[in-house]
């Protein structure tokens, strides 16, 4: 049997899955940001009448995933697999959304890289002939993440300047087969790298090496250069992580030019005072499902490399003094 693998870490799809529809739902703060108009739905407040932050996050995810299916105009029962993940313990936002949608469910955990991971795995399922429609979605919620990873939301403390702001939002894509639409042509799944960062207020620095490693391997596997892409977007490295990635890439013999950006730098503007940028599963998901998909469809982007970035720690591991391992997963989307 012909393997679809190219090089060490990359798969190139023989019949590339098409993104049939995408949908994004965000909180009010994200709605006020520079990308506000690109989201399909903006909540008026962070909890939207739910009983808890966790249920609110699950609702975000559910709305995003249902939104994608409705936009594609197929019945929910045509979806073969639901792939979802989030940041909460035991991925409960996804589990609870899956309880509502009642589809065959594969829960994924790649921390904030889960959107790219889900798109890669979903594409494998379709190109491998195991599914005709795969629904991928991820969520994050500022307040549910704060209380799990940091402090109660009303605690009056100062955040460090390298800290990032967890996005309240969920993004979803429906993958399938079609003649038209943006296609996922390749994916490079990353390996876990740990350069010893222990500061949980500097996630960008913890994840940057893993993202750079995935980029390096991606370009070698496909014999490509950064210039072969109209956009290379990392997931949520933020200001510090994006600068570090560029510098580490440069030292490793590859320079990222103006085509490189980070989704974490796109969601909020300076006046929103979030310090180093946005983070969370929802960060790359809502930027991709909104802004990037719209530009792909309009033809202003030809070939996009989305590199989800994840910090694979837990509050317990950090308290025990462990450093923060990072991961980067890349998917190629062509308009």
């Amino acid at each position: 049997m012909d393997l679809k693998r190219v090089g060490n870490q990359t798969v190139a799809f023989t019949s590339p899955p098409v993104i049939l529809a995408s949908y994004s739902v965000v909180g009010p703060m994200e709605g006020r940001g520079p990308l506000g108009k690109t989201f399909d739905k903006v909540w008026q407040d962070n909890i939207n009448g739910e009983k808890s932050w966790e249920l609110a996050e699950s609702k975000l995810l559910q709305e995003a995933m249902q939104g994608a299916v409705e936009q594609a105009g197929i019945p929910l029962s045509d979806v073969d697999y639901m792939l979802a993940g989030d940041l909460l313990n035991q991925i409960i936002s996804s589990n609870f959304a899956a309880r509502k949608l009642a589809l065959p469910f594969i829960g994924l955990y790649g921390a904030c890289s889960t959107m790219a991971l889900g798109m890669a795995v979903g594409s494998m399922l379709i190109d491998g002939g195991f599914a005709s429609h795969v629904l991928v979605g991820v969520s994050s919620h500022h307040d549910s993440a704060e209380r799990q990873y940091r402090l109660p939301t009303e605690q009056g403390s100062q955040r460090s300047l390298s800290a990032q702001w967890t996005v309240t939002g969920a993004g979803s894509v429906l993958l399938g087969q079609s003649v038209t639409g943006p296609r996922i042509t390749a994916a490079t799944l990353g390996r876990v790298l740990d350069y010893g960062e222990t500061d949980v207020g500097n996630m960008g620095a913890a994840m940057a090496p893993a993202v750079a490693d995935t980029l390096l391997n991606h370009f070698q596997d496909l014999q490509r250069q950064p210039g072969d892409y109209s956009l290379i977007a990392s997931g949520d490295l933020g200001m510090v992580g994006a600068d570090l990635t560029k510098e580490v890439m440069l030292r490793s013999g590859m320079s990222l030019g103006s085509e490189y950006t980070d989704c974490g730098l796109m969601i909020y503007d300076k006046s929103q005072d979030v310090h180093a940028g946005a983070s969370g599963c929802g960060c790359s998901a809502v930027v991709f499902a909104g802004n990037i998909m719209q530009r792909l469809k309009a033809g202003s982007l030809k070939r996009v490399l989305l590199v989800g970035s994840g910090a694979l720690h837990s509050p317990i591991s950090s308290l025990q003094g462990e450093s923060v391992p990072g991961i980067g997963h890349a998917v190629v989307i062509e308009g």
Partner: protein, 154 residues
């Protein structure tokens, strides 16, 4: 990190990366933070003094007045936390709003609000002192040690 990674690998060692990361990470604005902390902390204490003076003018003796003022400041800290204002003050004031007794109120009320959804026993009850707990444990432990030393010196 694994020593035997398949190439291509990053051409940077963890030590070099640490240096680079330190260089590219913004430093805390210490001077600005100190100025904010000084003025907001001072303001809270000044408000406390005004309250004490008012209680004294109202007929309490100084000890009673400062106890009553502390109680009132704790109430104000709790109220501002409940209204979602105290964390906004803390964002700018830092230690200036953490150290006074209003900050202690904030550190008790914020977990109470946050964990109410897990119920009054395992939520509020068990998590009430997540932030203030360490302060109490080591504060009380220190006071015992200081008390013993004081006892033997006198």
């Amino acid at each position: 990190m694994s020593q035997n990674m398949r190439p291509p690998t990053l051409k940077i060692t963890p030590e070099e990366y640490k240096d680079l990361s330190t260089k590219l990470t913004p430093k805390p604005t210490v001077v600005k933070n100190c100025i904010w902390a000084f003025f907001v902390g001072g303001l809270i204490c000044a408000i406390g003094q005004v309250i004490i003076n008012l209680f004294v003018a109202g007929g309490l003796n100084p000890t009673q007045a400062s106890t009553a003022a502390t109680a009132l400041l704790i109430f104000l800290g709790a109220l501002l936390t409940g209204l979602g204002i105290y964390d906004e003050i803390g964002k700018y004031a830092g230690a200036g709003s953490v150290v006074p007794v209003t900050g202690f109120a904030n550190s008790i009320v914020s977990p109470a609000l946050e964990f109410k959804r897990e119920g009054y026993v395992m939520g509020v009850g068990a998590r009430l002192f997540t932030i203030a707990g360490p302060v109490l444990v080591y504060g009380i432990a220190t006071s015992i040690v200081v008390g013993i030393i004081y006892y033997f010196l006198h």
